[in-house]
């Protein structure tokens, strides 16, 4: 009997049930179909502060701010798959998602300053990060500035940056429902990532 695969979805859109959250939902539906335990967190509903840049975590390894993100980071640590979603606003991720990512500084401090947190290659291989995004504009480069922050976030928290599920040109398609492939792709990748982790579990 394998352990359940825990899939954590985090929606960084301020708009409920918009294009990005719908795309995230499709991925989570696929993961659920494949038998995963799925939870979704909507950042907009939480009360949290942004990183204060105080660098106290560089000495202590913990954040001085105790708020709704404290438990979110516990859930991130417990997840096998971390699916992070944000629409593109002004050529970047939303302030809500950037607020979460900046608060992960204490992981970075533990890894690189205090050196009391280390993710083995095996751990990283068994923890998959997925970025989900939509953009109104049809430009090919519209997601480019989001990737480095997500790369940093997945690295810091011990996830392999497994894949992107991104769909631009929402304004032309009239929303995600009008996009020819994105929702089906998200659902399939949700199933695939859970199947893959099960296979890795079976390898022992």
């Amino acid at each position: 009997m394998n352990d359940p695969v825990n899939v954590l979805g985090i929606s960084g859109s301020p708009r409920r049930h918009g294009n990005t959250e719908t795309l995230l939902d499709a991925l989570l539906d696929g993961a659920r179909e494949a038998g995963a335990d799925v939870e979704k967190i909507v950042l907009r509903q939480l009360d949290y502060g942004s990183c204060r840049g105080c660098n106290a975590c560089h000495r202590t390894g913990v954040c001085v701010i105790k708020d709704d993100l404290t438990v979110v980071f516990e859930k991130i640590t417990a997840a096998d798959v971390l699916a992070v979603a944000s629409p593109i606003y002004s050529m970047g991720i939303t302030a809500e998602l950037k607020g979460l990512i900046d608060r992960a500084q204490y992981f970075w401090a533990r890894k690189f300053i205090l050196k009391n947190l280390y993710f083995t290659d095996e751990h990283i291989r068994r923890h998959k990060g997925i970025f989900i995004s939509t953009a109104g504009l049809g430009w090919d480069n519209v997601f480019d500035s989001a990737f480095p922050a997500l790369t940093a976030f997945f690295n810091t928290t011990g996830f392999e940056y497994w894949d992107n599920i991104i769909a631009n040109d929402m304004d032309r398609y009239g929303g995600i429902a009008g996009h020819p492939t994105a929702l089906a792709e998200a659902r399939e990748k949700g199933r695939n990532v859970v199947d893959l982790l099960r296979k890795l579990q079976a390898e022992g």
Partner: protein, 203 residues
């Protein structure tokens, strides 16, 4: 005429490297007779954009906070300065919230097709991006720049009127004071921009 400079210190850390860099620029501008206003974004009530898109019809934001004042100051200023540290390869969340709230200008310009500033002021405004990063990577500022350009474009400041001063490899508080050229570069930038604005505003 007095040059009106509006500066945003967006770092959550007061008097850290990016704010020191900003203060050097502002001091040089004041020496040239400019009127400068510095807004400390982390201490101001500027909430994130809600993505409601109501500004596309209403031509204003549905949220009422300090951005009401900032909105009018952005239109009035001759020079707008955005100073931000790099956190996790991008603008800090506080700076991104400010940039995203400029959506009201984007709606005005591209959806409602209304002027943001009167046509005669186009080319008479300058935008400056000041940034510092702890990492020494050459590419550490790259992902922040598209959002910065977005911010300046929607308030009618063209690429040709943008200036950048970005200093990497300064991490702990005050590290920029030991940088070999940052202070001189900041002061030269402040003087150059005020001189340039005097010229274009007199023309």
């Amino acid at each position: 005429m007095t040059i009106d400079v509006l500066a945003f210190a967006t770092s959550p850390r007061r008097h850290g490297n990016s704010e020191i860099l900003l203060d050097w620029v502002l001091a040089a501008m004041e020496e040239q007779g400019a009127a400068v206003e510095k807004i400390v974004v982390a201490e101001a009530d500027i909430r994130p954009c809600r993505g409601c898109n109501v500004c596309e019809t209403l031509n204003r934001c549905v949220q009422h906070d300090y951005m009401d004042y900032v909105h009018d100051r952005i239109i009035a200023a001759d020079c707008i300065i955005l100073a931000s540290p790099i956190y996790c390869m991008g603008l800090a969340a506080q700076a991104k919230a400010l940039v995203d709230r400029a959506q009201v200008f984007r709606s005005r310009k591209y959806v409602l097709r209304l002027p943001v500033v009167p046509p005669e002021r186009k080319g008479q405004r300058v935008g400056i991006f000041l940034s510092t990063a702890g990492q020494d990577w050459d590419n550490v500022f790259d992902a922040a720049i598209p959002a910065v350009k977005c911010f300046f474009h929607v308030v009618d400041i063209r690429n040709a009127d943008l200036r950048y001063l970005m200093v990497n490899n300064v991490d702990e508080r005050g590290a920029i004071e030991r940088h070999p050229t940052a202070k001189a570069d900041a002061e030269a930038l402040g003087r150059e921009v005020i001189g340039h604005l005097r010229e274009v505003l007199a023309a």
